[in-house]
């Protein structure tokens, strides 16, 4: 130990080591900016509801059908059965919400804002039911968006379901890649009856 005190170089070195020790113990402390996430309700992104608003052409009657899973993945799902009249045409508007938050978050607006990267695809097990998307995005050439669509029911009684899929695209996997591209952000089914 005496040698360290005598020898200047050695003394410098030991101080250097002590300095690094101090630096080391403080350098590795956790970031403070994470602290404010502990206390409040975690802002987890969640889509809980998809609601279809149908207006029979030529009238002002609006019917709404919702698919809801408010508790999050794996919890109870409440689905409304769609009951439509034979031989009619309906204009439909799709609404996407997060009803687990107060106030309710409207995600439809965000989808509309990123129209070039989203697409609703509607299909039905009832082959005679005609589905047509009415709105488009802003790219050239414009491609379907699907927040607004038309349902034309057949002239006979039928039963089956309506499947709504919301696809999400990225710049490396764009809409132009076709109907099977992208990944599904929503995939739900409504029971559908034509009376």
């Amino acid at each position: 130990m005496k040698n360290i005190i005598k020898n200047n170089k050695l003394r410098f070195f030991t101080l250097l080591l002590a300095g690094i020790f101090m630096l080391g113990t403080t350098a590795c402390s956790k970031h403070d900016d994470h602290d404010d996430h502990d206390d409040h309700d975690h802002e987890n992104e969640l889509i809980t509801t998809i609601r279809l608003h149908l207006i029979e052409t030529g009238t002002t009657d609006t019917v709404s059908y919702a698919w809801k899973q408010v508790g999050g993945p794996g919890t109870a799902i409440v689905v409304d059965s769609m009951v439509l009249k034979q031989g009619k045409v309906y204009e439909a508007f799709t609404e996407v919400l997060d009803e687990s938050k107060t106030p309710v978050k409207n995600i439809t607006i965000e989808i509309g804002n990123a129209a070039n990267f989203h697409r609703f695809i509607y299909t039905s097990t009832i082959s005679s039911l005609i589905l047509q998307v009415l709105d488009f995005d802003t790219q050239t050439p414009a491609m379907e968006l699907g927040l607004k669509f038309r349902i034309t029911t057949p002239d006979v009684m039928e039963s089956g379901n309506l499947k709504c899929v919301l696809k999400h695209y990225t710049s490396s996997d764009p809409k132009t890649n076709g109907i099977n591209a992208g990944s599904s952000d929503i995939e739900v089914q409504f029971p559908l009856f034509v009376n």
Partner: protein, 761 residues
């Protein structure tokens, strides 16, 4: 020639010792190698025939030190007068095909008493630049679990993740080890030796070491004062990867020494390529820096290490999916659904990890037989995972899906005592503290904190032909999960765990030079955070994972028998092992998918069962003629769920490796040139439970590898440069590996030309 000597009078008890020193591969004698005995201050040099004669030695045991520039140092136990003539083979530092000489192995048994398989610097040099798991594959019984790109996790006899401990020096690396796509956060360039520790010696490392301990050790400090270093440069063709690392070290002083070392590494890679298409979004970057310094004398030493590791790793885009429909479509396709031109750009989805480690160690030689070591380590592991853009809420844009920060602190006090020439005791206390903060958009594991207190001890008896080690460790762990809110409900947890780890290892070197090792171990581990509290989508595989908060700790009993024998130019090693687990934790698929607004997802729940893992690892080496070496390795594992009577998931398939190497004669400035052709044969894993997986295991495959290299004396005043060329997947074979997480979507990478340059400074 003798550099000064003194003589003792008692002539009738004096013996003359004959030593011959040769190169281990060419058997050429080494002239002017230095030879010394530990009990005496004399130094001898061998003559042109590599012979040294040590006269006038009293009967007894001596340790002989042999060294020669450019070769690994050798220590040998001499028993006078039982054996008076020795041939010592030294291994060249620049070319080291085998993992160690049997003679040297015997010494390892005596002096370290550990059951370990080791890779030394020269062997690592040839494979440097790969991540840790790839490096370890060269040790028999170790495989790598890949996620295409740069991530690979080591798998030791079917066990990985939370059942293996990875150490950097004397520090346990603490990160999010539970993730199948979370590789160990370590710069492979700092590795001077890599060891896999099993048996009684692994007991010292704590509960999660039931599969073994991987210890990566940096270079030991220079013994004499002066400066040295190394520059490593590498290029890899498959993903157009370049890497460089610079290490500088300087030691000063004589009686009291002090020194510093710094190492900085950088690596950049683009997309990998299979023989038929580019694996889009598999590039990565890695940067690391390490600074070490020490001050000390023969009696004490204080060493500080600060290391920083950072990586940004792109995740194969085609593997990040929506729901079951998307997954089924990807499984039905023969190639990834998204294939774009080659790029270095890292896009979403990607992982970003930063790991800072600080270690301070003080060792003190209390007296000739006792040594104390105190250490403190602190590390922060910051991991973020960004998904393919899915966020609707503009305010949340740019936030990571997974954002975990874990801070770990550890204090350790260890005492080592040697006495009677045959006994060694190691005892210590360990206190560890951990805090994890969860902040991502996607919830997988909660914020938690934990305290772990432990006491361990290891007792070893050894003599020149055998050693017996007994290890014992007791751990008490307290886990606390403070209240958190998820989908409108509140949860809070507090758990206590405690248990005993024990191991006994017996090593015996018989008359006919057979080395047997028998090891019995009982180990436990508490359930990991994700096994207890997971609840969410695991993007990597479009699956929903659900933890079980009622899981209890696992316990395993292991029995292993190893045998090694050298005979003339043959060497055989066999390892037979069996592990029985109680409460083995694993993921089981639920019969019905989980329904969410996104659609259906296959759901997995963590659960426990009884399991058995047993297997054989064997190695055979043969030197048909001078300069040639043939090596064959076999590996077979049997894993069974004992309760359900079905195969365990993800057990490595049976494999064998064959290689042929030749060491050429040095030519002018080119020293120690060599060439090696290796082949790997992996069978199809035909033992699998049909409903536990998305797809059946892939077909069997064979891969070839060519290694070549030499030392080049650029300038006689400088140390020689080492050049290695490796061609992986020589025949550009299409294949998929069962242990790869991306086997559902793509083939593995194709041919890879690798050039490695090591320039000593």
């Amino acid at each position: 020639m003798n550099l000064g000597s003194f003589s003792l009078v008692q002539a009738q008890h004096e013996h003359e010792l004959h030593i011959k020193i040769v190169d281990s591969l060419t058997q050429e004698p080494l002239a002017y190698a230095s030879v010394s005995l530990d009990k005496q201050k004399q130094l001898w040099l061998s003559n042109e025939q590599g012979i040294v004669v040590l006269p006038m030695l009293l009967a007894g045991n001596y340790v002989l030190h042999v060294s020669f520039v450019g070769y690994h140092h050798s220590d040998l136990l001499l028993r006078i007068p039982q054996q008076l003539s020795y041939t010592i083979e030294l291994c060249s530092e620049t070319f080291h095909l085998h993992e160690g000489l049997v003679q040297a192995e015997a010494n390892k048994a005596v002096f370290s008493g550990r059951k370990q398989d080791q890779m030394l610097s020269a062997e690592i040099d040839k494979r440097r630049g790969q991540n840790l798991a790839e490096l370890l594959k060269n040790i028999n019984g170790v495989k790598a679990m890949n996620s295409a790109g740069g991530i690979a996790k080591p798998v030791i006899r079917g066990l990985s993740g939370q059942r293996i401990v990875t150490m950097q020096g004397n520090s346990r690396i603490e990160g999010q080890q539970w993730g199948e796509d979370h590789g160990p956060e370590l710069d492979p360039f700092i590795a001077h030796s890599v060891s896999v520790i099993k048996g009684a010696a692994a007991v010292e490392f704590g509960p999660e070491a039931m599969g073994g301990v991987i210890q990566v050790e940096p270079k030991p400090w220079r013994s004499e004062k002066g400066m040295e270093g190394a520059l490593y440069l590498q290029g890899l063709s498959n993903n157009r990867q370049g890497a460089a690392s610079l290490r500088l070290e300087s030691v000063y002083g004589k009686k009291i020494q002090y020194g510093w070392r710094m190492q900085a590494s950088a690596r950049k890679a683009g997309d990998a390529r299979t023989p038929n298409y580019v694996l889009s979004n598999t590039g990565f970057t890695e940067n690391a820096g390490m600074f070490q310094s020490f001050v000390g004398s023969k009696k004490w030493k204080w060493e500080n290490t600060l290391s920083i590791y950072q990586t940004k790793q792109a995740i194969l885009q085609a593997a990040h999916l929506g729901n079951t429909s998307d997954l089924n479509r990807a499984l039905a396709a023969n190639r990834p659904l998204i294939v774009l031109p080659f790029t270095y750009q890292i896009n979403r989805p990607f992982q970003q990890v930063k790991h800072v480690l600080f270690l301070s160690e003080l060792s003190y030689q209390l007296n000739a037989s006792t040594k104390l070591r105190l250490s403190y380590s602190q590390q922060v592991n910051d991991r973020q995972e960004f998904d393919a853009d899915r966020v609707y809420n503009q305010a949340l844009q740019g936030r990571a899906a997974l954002d975990l920060e874990i801070l770990s602190r550890q204090l350790e006090q260890v005492m080592e005592k040697k006495w009677g020439g045959h006994w060694m005791l190691k005892a210590g206390l360990n206190q560890s503290f951990q805090e994890n903060i969860t902040a991502g958009l996607q919830w997988i594991i909660p914020t938690f904190n934990s305290v772990n207190l432990a006491a361990f001890s290891m007792l070893k008896y050894y003599n020149e032909s055998s050693s017996l080690s007994i290890g014992l460790r007791y751990d008490y762990r307290k886990l606390n999960v403070p209240e958190f809110r998820r989908f409108g409900k509140n949860y809070a947890y507090a758990r206590d765990f405690n248990g005993l780890n024990a191991g006994i290892t017996y090593i015996k070197l018989t008359q006919h030079k057979w080395q047997h090792t028998l090891s019995l171990q009982s180990a436990w581990r508490p359930p990991a955070l994700n096994e207890l509290y997971s609840y969410g989508l695991h993007y990597g595989l479009a699956s929903f994972e659900i933890g079980d908060s009622n899981l209890v700790p696992e316990r395993a009993w292991m029995l292993e028998w190893d045998v090694k024998k050298s005979y003339k130019n043959w060497q055989v090693e066999g390892s037979f092992y069996a592990q029985v687990f109680e409460n083995y934790i694993y993921k089981r698929p639920l019969s019905a998918p989980i329904l969410t607004i996104r659609g259906a997802f296959p759901a997995f729940m963590f659960t426990q069962t009884s399991a058995l893992i047993a297997g054989v690892d064997a190695v055979l080496r043969y030197k048909p003629a001078i300069g040639w070496q043939w090596e064959s390795r076999f590996s077979q594992i049997y894993g069974q769920d004992l309760r359900l009577q079905e195969a365990l998931f993800l057990m490595p398939a049976n494999s064998m490796e064959h290689s042929l190497a030749y060491a050429f004669k040095s030519y002018k400035k080119m020293a120690e040139p060599y060439a090696e052709l290796r082949s790997l044969w992996v069978a199809r894993q035909h033992r699998f439970a049909p409903n536990l997986d998305f797809r059946e295991p892939p077909a069997a495959y064979a891969l070839f590898q060519l290694n070549m290299g030499f030392s080049y004396l650029v300038n006689p005043k400088w140390r020689a440069w080492n050049i290695h060329v490796t061609i992986n997947n020589l025949l550009n074979t299409n294949y998929r590996d069962y242990l790869s997480r991306f086997r559902y979507f793509t083939d593995e990478p194709g041919v890879n030309f690798i050039l490695r340059l090591h320039i000593p400074i």
